[in-house]
């Protein structure tokens, strides 16, 4: 019996190319080649091999062997294999269960199992189901028998594991029955069984055709079995990726070190019962191998030296042959300040690779944010490239849109959620999307800024006075959402019913044409828009699965947003095809499955070389601890580190490799990858630490991109508009702003910028002030003269109720404001009774004006007095109601709170409409807080007598000052005394210059 036919392509050699040329050599005739069967880890690997064959053929036509994937690490594994591997129509294996269906079934089970005394909620159960599914897959792949779980003695493990053990035991018992009932089988189980069958078939009846399994490390038990069979076939060959055939005396220690780069291959060799020196070198091309490749392999062998024999590092200095500088040729290790700089350097390196014709380059990293930064940076040179590792569906437009829709209906279309939905680029409501957006913006301004118009869509419609707007809203928004709202309110909803409702509403909203019967938008047209592209298709698959498999999955409607969000996050969308002919951005797993894309590139960049990326952080397994895993037969917790180590080994052994990392991430220092730390020790021991290229060239390039000027903070704006533009009318409250913050007047009255209200503005102090004022005004108008009746208090409360009516629905207002109002009203009435004896008449909410004389003409001052009292002596008392704070005497003395002074001046001059002029008896603030201790207080900060001339003089000086050409309007001239509401701070950028050097955060 000949020994098994096992080869390895050394790390650093271009895999697909070597494989293709080697196979062509091995198959000594074209017929043999055409009848051959090559098994590879993934579909993409198969395409790459095909391309390599065609490249090597040099235009000579050839019949290629069949190239099939066996799904080594398949995430897009659907459990089906090619008919040539036994998965044909005659197969008696049941069809595979879809991922969603399995998740839903497991979730249903899990809801009935209390964990820690509590039954999981639906979203929790879905999460657990997903994780449990992954455990099941791991068990299948490792050929682990779950019966052993039953044998695990409960007292060996602490109490919380027992809960889990019980749960697992029951689940494992019931799961096969559930599957049988459905007539389905687990994806991974199905694939493994097919592979095993094929292995048995080939063992019993060995085929004599050329069969090659290439690029697999045999991490899955079923694949391993197949490899074992093929290795012993008459014309069967195994081609391993990157076995270190010269590991020599390290090999025994490697077999014990599950985190080692060669561990997986060691396991495979042990299974095949061969040693590394029995593995032959696969020679494909006849090119001379550059000397740095074997030298680098020697170096990396030392870098990965197992911990148990790490004292070997001490002998590095006098080993022979010595590892010398050659091993470092082509290797760069670049440390960037932060992720941003790292991305810049990577982009530069990728761009540089394009300078040489036909050169290819690839970046491999598990850090998707880093990939995004690099992709964005490449746009600098108009290079458009997609991340091959894919993007979570929750971050793609269709995913976002569906999620926004679900959130919106869940919140009964509260203003913010409604607007987020309607402003999504996909939203068109059955009309031209640009016009749709235009209408939406108008509705925002009219109805959705400021206090909420009410609950739900009808309230929004009711708030639209304009007929055209209302028609738009009813036809293009409400009509498309009506069915979804109903769907949400139907009792006993299921995952299927809710997701169907969402899908329908989403399709309608995406349409740009109306339905032929004119009610709502055309679903079909919308569907084309919504489900297009790789991401749309993924979303469509998800919703189709939910509709098909979620019929008997009862959930609460309020759980749907969270469940949907989790489902969208768990789906990774890969872009169709390869986006760029020469550059590639890859994830770690992807690069492993598609070696050719990675190691065949002329330049490789291994990015984000820190702990957490290389190796990835070990998952915390909620189902089993290390001891349990060992008993059951699962690989140890750090098995992914070993896979990652092999990826690193393959990458670093390439001819042109750049390793990059960032020193800091979001301000926190990072930890270097352990393999980089090892490399530093080894290089140091060899005396070569000065010889590693640290990317000085690349950093020099980057420096050329740095901006020449450092951005300076803004300075205090102080515009000087022409006289003709300057305002000539002010309200009493605007005077204060004119004095302390002229820039705000400039922004408000000259630039005419008005700040928008918040969307769905919550009830705030300003609203409270308005409600109190309005009620009091009504009361005063109804009781302008004479004494009050006995029902006065009731009358005031009734007025209050009227004004509060529209807001009383908000419970905070009902409890906190209304009680205040009642207390205030009681005080007010009592106060009224006392005052009225001396009064002739009371006037509320009266407007008035006077003119100041200024150099360029008159300046009009207006005011609206809350309350004017005309007493029996013909004197005026002017009152301003305040529900918040009252300006202090010192502020008034400084002349920065002039409202009452202006009102006094107007009254003095007889400027209030139809009211006579008169002396001013008193100017008062009434603080109407309604609090228990002092529901109302009269404050008279004007201690001195009112001096009309002084006030007029002061104001006219102010007007004259601003009537000069050179007078500017500086921002926050008097920052301490500026009135509190400052809407123009963003415009003036006051935070940049107001606080001096305190810009350091």
């Amino acid at each position: 019996m000949t020994s098994p036919s096992v080869y390895s392509i050394d790390a650093g050699m271009p895999f697909a190319r070597e494989l293709a040329m080697g196979i062509a050599k091995l198959a000594d005739s074209p017929e043999r080649l055409a009848r051959g069967l090559i098994l590879l880890p993934s579909r993409r690997a198969a395409s790459a091999l095909q391309a390599a064959f065609l490249d090597g053929a040099d235009g000579v036509p050839m019949l290629l062997p069949r190239m099939l994937p066996v799904g080594d690490f398949g995430n897009d594994d659907d459990g089906r294999l090619s008919p040539f591997l036994g998965d044909d129509a005659g197969s008696d294996l049941p069809p595979p269960i879809s991922k969603i269906r399995r998740q839903i079934c497991l979730a249903k089970l899990l809801r009935h199992f209390p964990l820690g005394g509590q039954y999981p909620t639906q979203p929790q159960a879905m999460r657990l189901a997903d994780s449990l599914g992954q455990l099941l897959d791991q068990l299948y792949n490792a050929d682990a028998t779950v019966e052993q779980l039953r044998d695990l003695l409960p007292d060996q493990f602490s109490a919380h594991w027992q809960d889990i053990l019980t749960l697992l035991g029951i689940l494992i018992d019931r799961w096969p029955d559930i599957l049988a009932q459905e007539g389905l089988i687990d994806v991974v189980d199905r694939r493994n069984r097919l592979l095993r069958r094929r292995a048995k078939q080939w063992r019993d009846q060995p085929p004599d055709q050329l069969i090659v399994i290439a690029g697999s490390t045999g991490s899955i038990a079923a694949t391993r079995e197949l490899i074992g069979v093929v290795a012993n076939l008459p014309d069967g060959h195994i081609v391993l990726p990157g076995l270190d055939r010269h590991a020599g005396d390290q090999w025994p220690a490697i077999c014990e070190d599950s985190g080692h780069a060669q561990y997986q291959l060691a396991q495979l060799l042990a299974y095949l019962e061969i040693t590394p020196d029995q593995v032959q070198n696969w020679t494909g091309s006849t090119d001379t191998i550059p000397p740095e490749l074997p030298a680098r392999r020697d170096l990396m062998r030392e870098v990965f030296r197992p911990a148990a024999i790490s004292e070997g590092w001490q002998r590095l200095g006098d080993a022979s042959p010595m590892i010398d500088r050659t091993a470092l040729a082509g290797l760069k290790v670049i440390t960037a300040r932060d992720r941003r700089e790292e991305a810049n350097l990577i982009a530069l390196s990728l761009r540089e690779a394009l300078e040489k014709p036909n050169q290819t380059a690839a970046m491999i990293t598990p850090d998707r944010q880093l990939a995004e930064l690099v992709i964005a940076d490449l746009r600098r040179w108009d290079i458009v490239i997609e991340d091959s590792a894919g993007k979570r569906l929750s971050l793609c437009p269709p995913g976002r849109f569906l999620s926004l829709l679900c959130d919106a209906v869940d919140a009964n279309f509260a203003p913010l959620r409604l607007l987020s939905l309607l402003k999504h680029p996909y939203c068109a409501g059955g009309m031209n999307p640009i016009h749709f957006r235009h209408f939406v913006e108008q509705i925002e301004l009219v109805a959705l800024r400021g206090p909420r118009p009410g609950d739900g869509l009808p309230a929004v419609a009711a708030a639209l006075d304009d007929a055209e707007l209302r028609h738009f809203f009813e036809t293009h928004v409400i009509a498309n959402l009506a069915a979804l709202i109903d769907c949400w309110q139907v009792p006993n909803p299921t995952l299927a019913s809710l997701s169907e409702g969402i899908a329908e509403a989403a399709e309608r909203l995406c349409a740009t044409v109306m339905d032929s019967n004119g009610v709502g938008a055309d679903r079909g047209a919308g569907a084309i828009e919504l489900w297009k592209g790789a991401d749309g298709m993924a979303a469509s698959d998800l919703f189709r699965s939910l509709a098909a498999d979620g019929r008997d999955s009862a959930i609460d409607a309020c759980d749907m947003p969270q469940i949907l969000r989790q489902l969208l996050e768990d789906i990774n969308v890969h872009p169709f095809g390869t986006s760029h002919p020469r550059l590639a951005i890859l994830g770690a797993v992807e690069a492993r499955m598609h070696l050719a894309r990675a190691v065949d590139a002329h330049r490789l960049i291994l990015a984000g070389f820190n702990e957490g990326n290389w190796p990835p952080r070990p998952d915390i397994d909620p189902w089993m601890n290390s001891a349990m895993r060992a008993v059951v037969g699962l690989p140890p917790k750090n098995w992914r580190s070993g896979l990652s180590a092999h990826d690193v080994y393959m990458a670093i052994c390439s001819k042109d490799i750049i390793v990059t990392r960032a020193d800091k991430e979001a301000g926190t220092p990072t930890t270097k990858s352990r393999w980089l730390q090892r490399m530093e020790v080894v290089v140091n021991a060899l005396g070569l630490d000065g010889d590693i290229d640290d990317g000085a060239t690349e950093k020099a390039w980057l420096a050329k991109f740095e901006p020449k000027t450092i951005p300076q903070p803004a300075v205090r704006p102080s515009p000087c508009p022409p006289l003709a533009s300057r305002p000539r009318q002010f309200s009493a409250t605007e005077i204060d702003i004119w004095i302390t913050d002229p820039y705000a007047i400039y922004a408000k009255k000259i630039l005419r910028l008005k700040p928008l209200d918040d969307i769905d503005r919550s009830a705030d102090a300003a609203l409270r002030g308005i409600l109190f004022h309005d009620a009091l005004a009504d009361f005063s108008k109804a009781n302008a003269t004479g004494q009050l009746g006995t029902d006065a208090l009731q009358q005031l409360l009734d007025f209050g109720k009227t004004h509060f009516a529209s807001q009383i629905g908000q419970p905070s207002i009902r409890y906190f404001w209304w009680t205040r109002f009642e207390a205030m009203a009681a005080w007010f009435i009592e106060n009224e009774h006392r005052r009225r004896d001396d009064l002739q008449s009371i006037h509320a909410e009266i407007s008035g004006m006077i003119f100041l004389q200024a150099a360029q003409g008159p300046v009009k001052l207006t005011a609206r007095a809350d309350r004017l009292e005309y007493d029996k002596d013909g004197q005026w008392t002017i009152v301003d109601y305040k529900t918040g704070t009252v300006p202090s005497g010192s502020l008034i003395k400084k002349g920065v709170r002039n409202q009452l002074a202006v009102e006094g001046l107007i009254a003095f001059d007889g400027g209030f409409e139809s009211l006579p002029a008169g002396a001013i008896r008193s100017l008062e603030y009434w603080q109407l807080s309604g609090k228990k201790s002092a529901p109302g207080e009269i404050k008279t900060p004007f201690a001195d007598l009112f001096d009309a001339d002084e006030i007029r003089d002061r104001l006219e000086r102010l007007a004259n000052y601003f009537d000069q050409t050179n007078t500017p309007y500086p921002s926050e001239l008097d920052p301490i005394n500026v009135p509190p509401f400052k809407p123009y701070q963003h415009l003036s950028r006051s935070r940049e210059w107001l606080y001096g050097d305190n810009a350091d955060e």
């Binding site: 999460r127 985190g259 220092p669």
Partner: protein, 230 residues
């Protein structure tokens, strides 16, 4: 002067001896991190399992700094000549290191690097989070529980507050009115926030009565609030 330094070094050597439990108070820049690093290294040298060592710091920067220092020392030990190794061990307080200990010092670097479980150097937050993730059931949370960030926390608290204060059951309504009369809306929110943050301390009305002067009605309300929120 040399005597002072010698005394200081001796004190540090005593403090870094893992046989004794120690409380150290020192000014900035005097070498606390080195002391801690020494202590961890001596623990490892004495054969303590790496996954049995936990260092808890307050900031992520401190954790990273300490981790890097430990690895730097270990990396050094892996390859320096024997004499230098002996001196370094002596400076740490290990007077005559045995062959075994030297060998251990050399091999620690690779061992610790590959060990995902230890020694653990992390912040308080990080440690607590990892406990919750490893023992979700005992902690009474769902597995895969995620820490809510500040925004999310505010949002959820606001929701809980709104539910209680603004949609109270009939029994609660009278209590809410009482609160509304006594304090402003903002203050009421603060009080509820306070209670939420101190949930564990609110076992019974008595403890609250003893610790602050709040009327009995509000005490009763607090219990109802806690039951409703949690």
């Amino acid at each position: 002067m040399n005597e002072m330094i010698a005394r200081a070094s001796a004190a540090q050597a005593t403090a870094s001896d893992p046989a004794a439990s120690v409380f150290v108070s020192a000014n900035a820049g005097t070498g606390k991190t080195k002391l801690l690093t020494d202590r961890v290294l001596r623990l490892l040298l004495s054969g303590a399992p790496a996954d049995g060592i936990l260092c808890v710091t307050y900031t992520r920067a401190a954790a990273a700094e300490m981790r890097n220092r430990i690895f730097k020392r270990l990396a050094n030990w892996a390859t320096i000549p024997a004499k230098a190794l002996g001196e370094d061990l002596e400076n740490m307080g290990i007077v005559t290191p045995s062959q075994d200990m030297r060998r251990r010092a050399r091999s620690l670097f690779a061992e610790i690097l590959d060990n995902d479980d230890g020694p653990r150097v992390e912040t308080v937050h990080s440690f607590c989070q990892s406990i919750l993730r490893r023992f979700p059931i005992e902690a009474g949370v769902a597995p895969h529980v995620q820490l809510a960030d500040d925004d999310e926390q505010s949002r959820l608290k606001a929701m809980a507050r709104a539910n209680i204060l603004y949609h109270p059951s009939p029994e609660l309504a009278a209590s809410v009115l009482l609160i509304a009369e006594a304090v402003s809306e903002g203050r009421a929110d603060e009080i509820v926030n306070d209670f939420i943050n101190r949930a564990e301390g609110l076992e019974s009305p008595d403890c609250l009565a003893r610790s602050s002067r709040i009327s009995v009605m509000i005490l009763a309300l607090s219990l109802l609030l806690m039951n409703a929120i949690c």
